[in-house]
Assembly symmetry: C2
Homo-oligomer: 131 residues x 2
């Protein structure tokens, strides 16, 4: 065997395309939207490949995966941890301007033996258009 821990990933056109597309879209697109955008220029790229690469790129930390309760997961070019708001009307996902609470995990009084290593806050509300 040849040592390293970095699982040797290949730099395919499709993978580059997925990364660049997410980085170019600043509106928290879901896999479907990313696929649609890619398909405009490259109709031969399959949806399964988009899903596979989204998962891989977010595992690599190159994009941020945002699991959305009651909806399709979406992805963010901005990898700094931050919070999101989901509009109850249109389902859109938006960034929330709120200082990130690094110590929130330590607010847990009694963890009963759990190891807590992260958390997610999703606010819900109505965007200006949906009010």
């Amino acid at each position: 065997m040849r040592g390293q821990s970095d699982t040797k990933n290949r730099n395919t056109l499709q993978r580059r395309l997925v990364l660049e597309t997410v980085q170019s879209m600043h509106n928290h697109p879901d896999a479907e939207a990313i696929y649609a955008r890619i398909s405009m220029e490259n109709p031969l790229v399959s949806k399964a490949t988009v899903y596979r690469n989204l998962k891989l790129l977010s595992k690599q930390g190159l994009i941020l995966h945002i699991p959305i309760p009651d909806g399709a997961d979406c992805f963010d070019f901005n990898c700094c941890p931050h919070y999101h708001l989901k509009c109850r009307g249109c389902g859109g996902v938006f960034d929330v301007d709120m200082p990130y609470q690094n110590d929130l995990c330590s607010c847990v009084v009694n963890n009963r033996g759990f190891v807590i290593d992260g958390y997610q806050i999703v606010f819900s509300g109505l965007c200006p258009e949906c009010q």
Copy 2:
């Protein structure tokens, strides 16, 4: 039309069964688990009915609906707002002992015209068995 706002709901056996089952299960069951439990005694109740009643009962505030990112939504007999932890190992959902932050919505610095009316925190980690 006859006035009131309370949508006149019927007190069916199936609805009572769903409510009582959720109230008797204290481990954050999802719809599938609730359906399975009901089916043990009442195999004729259909899954669609379980889903329909879970939605209705949580809308009525009789049970708590917990949308889980990356997993089936689950339900809680405890309707007081509280936070949950999802184990990355077994997928189980557990209560978190942490004071509820009533004012968290007001921490949002700039809401850009959004009306924020709620939020959900889901912690992730590993339960004692999965460590």
